[in-house]
Structure formats: C-alpha cells, structure tokens
C-alpha cells in the first residue's frame, strides 16, 4: 500500500492550531511562579523545532540566494534548539528538594 503524506489544510489545520493552543494554555496555567523562567526557556527550546523546517527548505533550495538563506536558517534554528536545551537543562538541574524536610510544598 502506498503511503502519501496527509495534507493539513483548511479546518484540519485550524483544529490542530486550536487544540495545540489550548494545550499550551493549560500547561502554563497551573504552574508555580518558581518554574516560570525554566518554562519560558523550555518553551524557547521547543520552538527550536523550526530547524526541521529550515532543513527541508535548504534541502529543496535550487538557487544561490535560497541556499544562503537556508544555510542561515538551519544555523539559527540549530542554535535555538541546542542553546535552548543546554540552558533549560542547566536551570532544571538545580531544582532539588530540601533533604531535611522531604514534604512537598503543597
């Protein structure tokens, strides 16, 4: 059986956008302020997925300007993803509960 990529247009795309927006809203909505900075950094990492789109654009480039812009796009996207990961990981490494009182805050 031949598989072909599903084309996400019109309402299908709208549904995806809507559900994704609610998901983001719900995840942040109940977060203690203590995690706001790591989460901002974490979400910063996640939009580093843009590197995948830039890769596609570069691999399909057929002129010099496209190759130059594509190269920059992949470079910037990779920086976003890698930098976002390292910084978030470093921040989160520090969250250790107190050893004296193991009970959680809530």
């Amino acid at each position: 059986m031949e598989y072909s990529t599903t084309i996400l247009t019109g309402f299908v795309a709208l549904y995806i956008f809507m559900l994704a927006a609610f998901t983001g809203f719900e995840i942040i909505g109940r977060v203690p302020a203590i995690l706001h900075t790591p989460l901002m950094s974490g979400s910063n990492f996640i939009h580093g997925i843009v590197v995948v789109g830039a890769l596609w654009a570069l691999l399909n480039a057929s002129s010099l300007p496209e190759q130059i812009i594509g190269f920059l796009g992949v470079l910037l996207g990779a920086g976003n993803a890698a930098g976002g990961y390292v910084v978030t990981e470093r921040m989160l490494q520090m969250f250790k509960p107190s050893s004296k009182s193991p009970k959680a805050k809530e």
Binding site: T9, G24, G48, L76, V86
Partner: protein
Amino acid sequence: MNAALLIDASYFVAAFLFIYGLKRMSSPLTARSGIVVAGAGMVLAVLASFLYTLDVNEAAKPHLSTNLTLALLALAIGLGWAWRSGKKVAMTEMPQMVALYNGMGGGAAAAIAAIELIGYKTHGSISLSLAVLGGVIGAVSLSGSLIAWAKLDGRINGTLRFNALQLVNGGLLLVLLAMGAYIVWQGGAVSMPVFAVFFALALVYGVMMTMPIGGADMPVVISLYNAFTGLAVGFEGYVLNNPALMIAGMVVGSAGSLLTLLMAKAMNRSVANVLFSNFGAAGDEEQGEMAGSQKPIDAGDAGINMRYATKVIIAPGYGLAVAQAQHKLYELVKLLQDADVEVKFAIHPVAGRMPGHMNVLLAEAGVPYDIIYDMEDINNEFKDADVAIVIGANDTVNPAARSNKSSPIYGMPILNVDMAKQVYVVKRGQGKGYSGVENALFYADNTQMVYGDAQKVMVSMIQAIKSLGGGH
C-alpha cells in the same frame, strides 16, 4: 520502507514527546526529566528530517549534495556554538541568553518564509498570508530579541525615545501590513527587491519597537518575543505542511502569551502599557525630599540580631545575584537554621530579571525550594517576623507603591517587608532602584541600612555569628 511514512510517524512521536516533556517541566518534582524527554523528541525529529534527501524537488536535485553539505555544516556550527555558549554562561546572564536563542528561532522562521517567497513556492492566499505573517513576526522577534539581549547584557545603555516615536512605529506597522497584503494580493508574484524591502522593514520595526522599552520591562518583552517566535514557527509549519512545527509552534505561542500576561500582571501593568508607555521618563523632579534619614548599622551587629530572632524573612533581589552572594547567603541561612531560627525566602514575582529567575539563582546556591515562598503566600507573614532582610532589592519593597499615588510604581504589588519588626537593607550605596524611584522604606523608623557589597556583608554576618560560638 516508505520515507514519507517514517518522517510523519517520527513527527507524531516528537510532537507527543514535546507536549509530555513540557507537562513534566511544569512541576518541580519532574521538571528535570521533562527537558530530557523533549530533547529526545528534538533529536528524533532532526534525524528523521534527513530522510527528506530521498525525495526533493526536481529543481533541487542537481544541488542535493551541495545542499546536504551546507545543512550538515550549518547544523554543526549552530549546535556547536550554542552548546558551548549555553554551558559557559553564568546563571545571572541567563535571561539575555534566552533572548538570544529565541531571536535565532525567529530568524530561522523568517528564513523559511523568505525561501518560500523568493522561490515562489507558496500558492493559495491562506498559505501566502501565513508565510508573510510568520515571516514578519519571525523577523521582528529576531531583531527585537537582539536588542533585548544587548540591553540586558549592558551593550546598549539608555533608551531611544522621541515624541513622534509611537507615530513612526505605527506608520511602519501600517506599511508592513500594506506590503504584506500586496504580496498576498499579487499571489506572491512580486519582484525580489519588494521582498527585500519587506523583510528589512520588519527587522527595523523590531528594533524600533524594542528600543524605547526600559531594562526593567525586558522580561515581559522577551516572553512576548518567545510567544512571537512560537507563532511564526506554527505559521511556517502550515506553509510547509509540517505538523511538528504547527503543533510545537502553536503550543509555545499560546503558552508564551499566557506567560507574558502573567508577568505583566505581576507588575500590575498591561502588556500594552509595557510596550507603548514611556515608563520612567518623567519622575525625578516631582518627588519631594524623603522625611527622616537613612540609619546605617554594622553588618556584624545585624547578623547577631538575626541569630537571636525567632523568625527571619529574606527578600532577595537582583543585586544579590550581581554580587554573586547567593552561596554566602545560604551559608548564613544554614547558620541561622542551626540556631533554630525560622528562615524563609520571599520572592517577588519580578525579582531578578525574569519571573522565577531568583528561584533559579537561589537553587543554584543549593537553597531548597521548600523554604522559598511566592509573594502572595508569604506577604501576611511579615508582620510576625522579627527581622526582614532585603538584599539587593529596591522597587519590589518600596511602600510608595501602596500609598503614594504620584509614584510611578504606584499600584505595583510589593513585599510587605516594612511590616516586620526590624528591617535590614543590604545595599551598595545610597542610589535609587532600577526604576529611578526613591524608596520610602529606607527612611522608615524600623529600617536600618547595611552598606556594602552583598557578598562581603554576608561574610561579615557569618563571621559575627560564628564568633558567638556553638551552643544553641
């Protein structure tokens, strides 16, 4: 095996891992594994996208080996540079690094839009509109984030303000929208110079929008640009028919928007107010002289008084982090705890340079998060505290925000440190806070000032307490 199926399946798994990872990041207990989960999703998605090489456009086939080389080179440079810089950066400089990486993501989204547009690859008014919109938002996020980074990093000082600035910016935005509409109207068939001017204007707009905003408001702005990049990525995902970009981008777009609103609310200001008001421009001359005087006290004496207190609440600010005093502070806290003093940290929502930034800085010093309290959870406890000690904070503890209607920070919620029996303020000198507002707290009857570098003050306090000897 069908490559397209493999790619789509990988993206599906990656999207799941992103959302699950973010969910784990939203609780302190599971946060550390959350980023690893999301990271696995990223690696999977990037690896899968190399399968694109098996199926590229006819026009791109002759260039495939060049393109692949370029792609690997760009990945290696971007990854290598960001990895190194991310490992090296000090915790106090985290906010500007987040701004920088975020701007890079915006730039990547704008690059995708540019390739789609100049290659005339996008058709249909919805795709074109989203390509154009994502391109503008991405470009604004890139240049705006770079300005935010430069400001927080101290590379640009001061703010650019002139009377007609908002007018100029408004005009610029209108021109951008009109050009975007024109591109869509023409079905994308406009000449290269039009695209070049379009993207250049978007970059200029990002600069002009960010320049007038003061450093104290930068956290809100960075969070806003984070949401912007998310949106841009989501829109370009639609253009490329890539569900991973659509989902990840839109999740970040909405989460970032909410975070921006929460941050602005914590400062009792609207996002529009942050972006378009000339906060802190007026002020200095209309503030009268403060009644009373600042009363200094020796650091050692203050330390000994804390040793014999029952309850001490610490209100840390950015000054603590700048002086790199958080480790010494925690040493002091442990000494106090050994002497059966109840010690709590009170964190203002905008302490540090981003919400939660202070928590990160304290966590770095090993302070357990369960003695750290948010403002609303601890504000009622100050009246029962024997000592409240303010270290390197200023505007967030200024009672003028509660009482003085003419103060520029009136209405901002503050920590009620002035209600403690005794207040110690550790401060380098007699200067004003980030907003340039005089602080009534420093002149209050129950306040004493400990002048000096926060780290040296902590050391003096520790020595004074240790010199008292063990005995509980």
